[in-house]
Symmetry: C2
Subunit: 545 residues, 2 copies
């Protein structure tokens, strides 16, 4: 059997990582990273207004740098065996394009205009525009937000387009359509310049742009025109079809083959969203809630269509046919703060040293490990301290960003370890609330697969999660699950596998540690979870937000 | 007019302070302090069991030391002008005595037996015995605990007697009666050896020993015998009469005049409880809630009998005719944690430096001042953080030591100053709950007078208190208000004044800072207080304790 290789490119918030993978085994051969040069200098951003823009050249230069380094580090045989490439990116990170499919910031006259650049996922300049979209969506007979959690976010493409087109006549004058970052990469490398022919990711379209088969694709132009006539025009220039991540969108052009040092004509697959690619890389399958656990969590499930039978799952973020695995409904949920809650507590404890300029040496990095150690010695249910984890609002179930965190059961004898334990339990209870919602909506979950910094670094948190959920929790032994998921999609798109699940099976990363629930502890946590629900109910229903 | 002087002796938990005061003006001439030598060495105590005992020789030696120093530091004219002496002590701090009125630890064979010594107020060895008393008290037709808050404490005399008599045959064999520390000092200095004739403080008898006119004094011997027949015998050896603090109990014996260097035959007045003497020294009068504010608070009110008209004030600690000012009902309430709540938060923030041995220099002492400064810059009502102050349970209103503290409204942007402000507000709301209970029970309160460490050192806390209560708060400019109150009682007992209020008027210490409420801020706090009540209601009623 001739060896075959695929390249997965993972565009994160700060950098571009490229890996080359053996398509038959999933073995990683090499990886390389490049930071975005302009972004690193802080250009085109204004954190005081939550304005975050990225220049298309940052994506191009970092891609060339990372792939060239990769190619230089492996043998010519491997390079010539590369048969496909694909991408994941942050989302929604859209850009306005002209009639040639070119991001406007690549035009000389708009090269320094932030509104002509990609509007990064965490940019919050379109809050007012999102509110307008929500008002309009609720006024008609069809609520186009119903598959994206019932509320359109300022972080998503239509709000961002409304914002940059409404506030910038120079950009408006050249605006023909828009692209998500994930879609632009495919268009660029395959040389597709016609906006209506550029393949759009099912995942970004469904989760961020209200694309749904129920209304024949994106919301109708009549709806969008009421926000801005130009938005309606743009809608008419969008394709109705969208691409799942296992599909090819074209082949690598001679120009880009030369620029990257890769074989001409290899398959370029449809890009997708980083977290969803991470779920694929982590081996997602029906019944396995796949969690990217870091400062917050992104929780992804796939569900056979017949289990949902056309129903809307209440109170989650998104529900899109094929957004993760083709043939399954992809469901997205998440906790808006997870590791961030622990970081908040750590920073609280470090306040005196910061305030009074006390040298801490290496102690800062030891705080969370030491708190974890002390907290793990406290028997479950023996400390009276309780907590709510909504320190950054609640994303799911039932989004309410005005909700806040809390601590109960405090006494003069309460130690930092007791509080830390309560915070860890509360974030696990927040996870359980999501799991219970899925279960009560008829979506099966039998185990958890986890990737991300918390999953890798915090055994105490992961064991608590297993006990609270009373489910096994597998930590996937890969710090590059997103890029690996991209590689699986590229291999499938190249025809090496007949389906994405086959690629997942063959290319799966090893399972690292598996956390099994302790039955007695799980019983105790069921009681504490009931207390968490009561406390949450009080603060949610009684208090002003 | 010939100058006259009085000596006030304030026995605290750790030391004995004596002051000599000009009885006509209240001017302090000199003061001297002696620590208890055995106590300082940690003798006769076992903190792991909350066992705290004090040897009678500690009280004698510290008295001799402090008064001798005092006498040595003033002119012979002043010494010869001293016309009275009195005491305050901690309470309930009782001792078992023999038939000669001698504390058993002064007998050679029991000199080292902790059960033969004074059982300090904070000794908690009698928890089981207190529970027995409460069970019995609730089973009969009269609840003898009804004027002491409806629950007899392990810190009080009958529980402590039941404990030491039940567990120590050597002590039991010699036991004839008992004395409170405050009563023993008067007996000793006047040479009164007959237990039935030794004057008993109205204040300790009423607040700690269930003495009440309704049942003709102490609870009947039949009641006490059911706990222990010896307790019933002791009851039969107690006088029915008790002494308010303005009354003389005898005159100084030649022996004690010699030992102290004071004129023979001067008036010895009835002792009383430190906090109550502090209230007298702070100028307590009807309508002025007088608060001793430190780690916890002791809140004292006097009320004309006709305002209460024989009613029981619900949910406070104690209600005793004449326990503070003769002719008024003395009412006692308090918060079981006040400054301790701030100290808890400070220690929480210092955890990393303690845990990792980081040198903090002087920063530790700057934490609360700096938090106060930052918190004072936060506009009232502008921070979402809320708190409950029950970190050490709730003493009043409606004692429930199982209640706990809480924090709500926490976000990733919550700073230590926001939490500190919420804690300060919560302790002030706890104060307001006491004030509102008194008001709803028909007891008038129009202003606050405060003494103690927090009152002297924390302008931010005191201003918050004034705003939350919407009442002026006067801080009494004396760090020795207790000893001064004792001096006022001594002067009255010596006949220099016709009544204690006259002595208070003449001898009053200056008012230091007065905090006036801001009307707008008070309005905001009324809304926040309603939120505090809702949050308290949730944790009190819904949660297990």
């Amino acid at each position: 059997m001739v060896s075959k290789y695929v390249i997965g490119v993972d565009y994160g918030t700060d950098s571009c990582r490229a890996i080359v993978v053996d398509a038959l085994t999933g073995r990683r051969i090499a990886s390389a990273v490049r930071h975005y040069p302009r972004w690193r200098e802080g250009l085109y951003c204004d954190p005081s207004r939550d304005m975050y823009r990225q220049h298309p050249l940052d994506y191009i230069e970092s891609l060339e740098g990372a792939v060239s380094e990769l190619v230089g580090r492996v043998s010519p045989e491997i390079v010539s065996g590369v048969c496909a490439i694909s991408f994941d990116t942050t989302a929604s990170t859209p850009v306005v394009i002209d009639a040639e499919g070119t991001p406007l910031a690549l035009l000389p006259e708009l090269a320094d205009d932030p509104d002509a650049m990609f509007v990064l996922w965490k940019d919050h300049t379109a809050i007012e525009e999102a509110a307008r979209i929500n008002t309009l969506a609720r006024s008609g007979s069809v609520d186009y937000t119903k598959y994206v959690g019932g509320s359109y976010s300022a972080e998503w493409v239509w709000a961002k387009m409304l914002h940059v087109l409404g506030g910038n006549p120079s950009v408006r004058a050249k605006a023909h359509s828009w692209l998500e970052h994930s879609d632009w990469m495919g268009a660029l490398l395959t040389g597709c310049k016609d906006p209506v022919k550029i393949a759009r990711s099912r995942c970004t379209a469904g989760h961020k742009a209200m694309w749904n088969a129920e209304w024949g694709g994106y919301p109708p132009a009549e709806f969008l025109s009421r926000l801005d006539p130009l938005l309606g025009e743009m809608r008419r220039r969008l394709p109705d079809e969208t691409f799942t991540a296992d599909r090819p969108v074209g082949s690598l052009t001679a120009e880009w083959a030369g620029r990257l040092g890769l074989p001409e004509g290899i398959t370029v697959a449809a890009g997708s969203v980083d977290a969803h690619m991470g779920a694929i890389g982590a081996g997602i399958s029906p019944g396995v809630l796949t969690r990217i656990m870091g400062t917050s969590t992104c929780d992804i499930l796939v569900c056979p269509h017949e289990d949902i039978a056309g129903r809307l799952i209440r109170g989650i973020c998104g529900q899109v046919d094929g957004s993760v695995l083709p043939g399954y409904t992809g469901l997205e949920a998440g906790q808006s703060a997870f590791g961030d809650v622990y970081a908040w507590f750590k920073n609280l404890l470090l306040w005196p040293t910061k305030e009074f300029g006390i040298e801490t040496g290496e102690a800062e990095d030891k705080i969370i490990p030491r708190l974890s150690e002390l907290a793990s010695r406290i028997a479950p249910g023996s400390s009276p301290v309780s907590a709510l984890d909504w320190f950054n609002g609640r994303r799911t179930p039932d989004a309410d960003l005005g909700l806040k965190g809390a601590l109960g059961g405090l006494t003069l004898a309460t130690t930092p370890a007791m509080i830390f334990r309560a915070l860890v339990e509360a974030t696990a209870f927040g996870s359980r609330a999501i799991v219970e919602r899925f279960l009560s909506e008829g979506v099966r979950i039998s185990s958890i697969a986890a990737i991300g910094g918390i999953a890798q670094k915090s055994p105490f948190v992961m064991q608590t999660l297993a006990d609270v959920l009373n489910m096994p929790v597998k930590v996937i032994d890969s710090d590059q699950a997103c890029a690996l998921g991209v590689a699986m999609c590229a291999a499938t798109a190249a025809g090496i596998y007949g389906s994405l699940p086959e690629a997942q099976m063959a290319m799966a990363p090893p399972v690292g540690r598996e956390y099994l629930p302790d039955a007695a502890t799980a019983g105790i946590y069921s009681e504490l979870y009931a207390r968490y629900e009561r406390m949450g109910g009080f603060f949610e229903n009684t208090e002003t937000k």
